[in-house]
Point group: C2
Chain length 412, copies 2
Amino acid sequence: MTRSVSDSDSVRRQNRGLILDALRAGGPQSRTALAVRTGLSHASVTAIMQDLLAQGLVEEMPAAERGDGRTRGRPAILVGFQRKAAYVALFEIDVNKARLSLVDYAGILVDRIETEVTPTTFRQTAPDVFLLEKLALLRERTPKASGALRRVAISVQGILDRDGGGLKWSPIQGLAGSPFASSLEAHIGLPVSLHKRGRLLAEGTRWLDPDLLDASVATVFLGSTVAMGMSLHGQITGRGDEGATEFGHMNHVPNGALCRCGMRGCIEAYAADYGVLRTAYSVPETASPAPAVPAQQYESLIQRAEAGERTATHGFNLAGRAIGYGLARMLAMFDPSHILIVGPGARALNLMRPEIETALGASLIVKINGMPRIMAHLDEKEPIFRGLMMKTLSDIDQNEFAGLASAVRAAG
Amino acid sequence: MTRSVSDSDSVRRQNRGLILDALRAGGPQSRTALAVRTGLSHASVTAIMQDLLAQGLVEEMPAAERGDGRTRGRPAILVGFQRKAAYVALFEIDVNKARLSLVDYAGILVDRIETEVTPTTFRQTAPDVFLLEKLALLRERTPKASGALRRVAISVQGILDRDGGGLKWSPIQGLAGSPFASSLEAHIGLPVSLHKRGRLLAEGTRWLDPDLLDASVATVFLGSTVAMGMSLHGQITGRGDEGATEFGHMNHVPNGALCRCGMRGCIEAYAADYGVLRTAYSVPETASPAPAVPAQQYESLIQRAEAGERTATHGFNLAGRAIGYGLARMLAMFDPSHILIVGPGARALNLMRPEIETALGASLIVKINGMPRIMAHLDEKEPIFRGLMMKTLSDIDQNEFAGLASAVRAAG
DNA sequence: AGAGCTTTTTTCGAGCAGCAAAATAATGCT
DNA sequence: AGCATTATTTTGCTGCTCGAAAAAAGCTCT
């Protein structure tokens, strides 16, 4: 609740931020449209826009063909982000691959590097060195963007340490322990931020569907891990990057199945791909989890379950029950209006739905508030990347460009 | 994320709010002290204070004796809330009693009415009628406050309906169903708000200890029910009064012990007084819960457990396990720095602690982040009342008085 | 008693917001 | 060419905060 003094500077910052937000959400648009969208007067939009143009953050664009039918009157001049005003480097680190994308201020992909990751990758090359190398390669390939690089953002899985400089634990081998984000930050002199993949999923799905932008959505990732992100009324929970939302490692059954994390009874141990497989093949719960499940093997298990094969459906039943009770327990604390299942496991939602709904139905909150709507969204890559990108660009908008007015004006 | 346009009016509102906040938190103080506390310039504090004085919201006070030793210089004039600037009526409705307090704008108790509540009370008298009657009685007894009454706030247990006008479910018989808060609001023409008791506990404990004001605290109530409220960095979770935090009815064991709510396996069914008693007396889990447990009976059970009696300790062990797993599951979503146990059950914390810690220890998050600090605070009445009062007075500060400036100045 | 010291509070002028309304600009239509 | 229409900019005004300087209010000391 640390509120601070408001003065004319903070007013400008707020309203500049409003305009940048509107531009971010609505794409290039006319000043008039921005005035309507933001609620600012035309005069203020003009004044702020003059600053933004002078700073080179936005540019006027050749008016698009008027698709709206109206043909009379002075044509509107569209204003949109100046692509080269800033660049961001986005890492997505996964269990089996890493991807580095260079994106410009308008959100357009400029370059991309993909790398295989194995369990030994970060043992052989320290994470900070690995990232530094990839980043150097990228900057070399696109030198003109290099100077305008403003942020590096990294998507990871695991539990962040308190200051977000590294991971305390991660399912990705060798990643936890060293504060590689802080280290990278010190080396390149740019802000480096670490984001939990689950959190980004929630951020990304917000941008997926305009209806979801201000809704409360719990996004559950099902795949080789189980994770959750949540947005409440358009706010992503957990300010900054604190707050653990380790849904996958929420306990389902005391002393239950062995999880990859080493604990027992986690939801993940039943609902991640390896958990379902273990159940389906009647491997004892306490057996060591498979290190990785080929996508194809998981897919064929889904097909066998869809065909009605008993052992396979049993696996998905236990998974559904774990997810259902997990969601029921989550609903005792939050009240999202939508529940979105994403990732490879989303394909199997219908197999799991009966058990999920049975479990949910056993909870008072669901009995009172009604069964929440559970939907599947198959592609999870897109929301993660989109979430990472939007979060990072918005961060530049609000924390860097929204407040730069007087400094630049004084200089000019 | 619905941000809005900022203009000079909103600047004033913000800064007036800042000053009212400082006054609320720090009691009567000098303008200079307020300038330091809020970060505003002396000039602005003076200007705002002139408005507040003209509106009669604050008053200058005879300077207290200088306890700080400094004796030189112009003596400071303390400014504090004008007691009669506003009054609030606060209902605390409990399973066995109801209390209505009249409090002035400075937070001083003016009058209070207490009433016994039985399971038939709200069957015989509809809740809105009941409240209306008590309120009428109070206004009659203190007529001079009646005209300046600004808010009615009600502390309840249960699940609120979406607009906060009533309850969808409540452990208090006859309270759920009718939107009595809306009804009351319509009758008296004043804002009436409904607050979950657990939420207020969190709010109240914030004011208990200055250290807790900006910390993240999960407050667990243990008594005839089990409830939780949480504040994250001084923010109470769940904006407004939405969001269900039904910790007591979070599932602990599928198909477990029968709960008062009618479902099975809720934490409450193991950890509320009736649950512990049921276990201790070896009554089957599926037996109907006792309607009410006399405080004395619960206390003697604690003493028997402290004396080492097996059946009694068993009851607290199961309770501790339920709470421990519940907390572990909660920690998968939140990351509070303190966990505070309040209510009658807080007395038994040490009996439950071993099982709580065992359960917590089985969770990945605790293994990574370390065992959270769990403390007991015996008196729960005080934080609830304080929370209800502070929340309601702050609401007047921010939503009514912070923005009244121009209107009044124009009139004057 | 009065000058001097110290601390608090108020006053004053500058600077920067945003807004409403008026003015200007750029088209299409007739 | 002139008019209608829509977009953008300019103008004049008000409100807010701030820093600096002035005023106020006691206390102390001679």
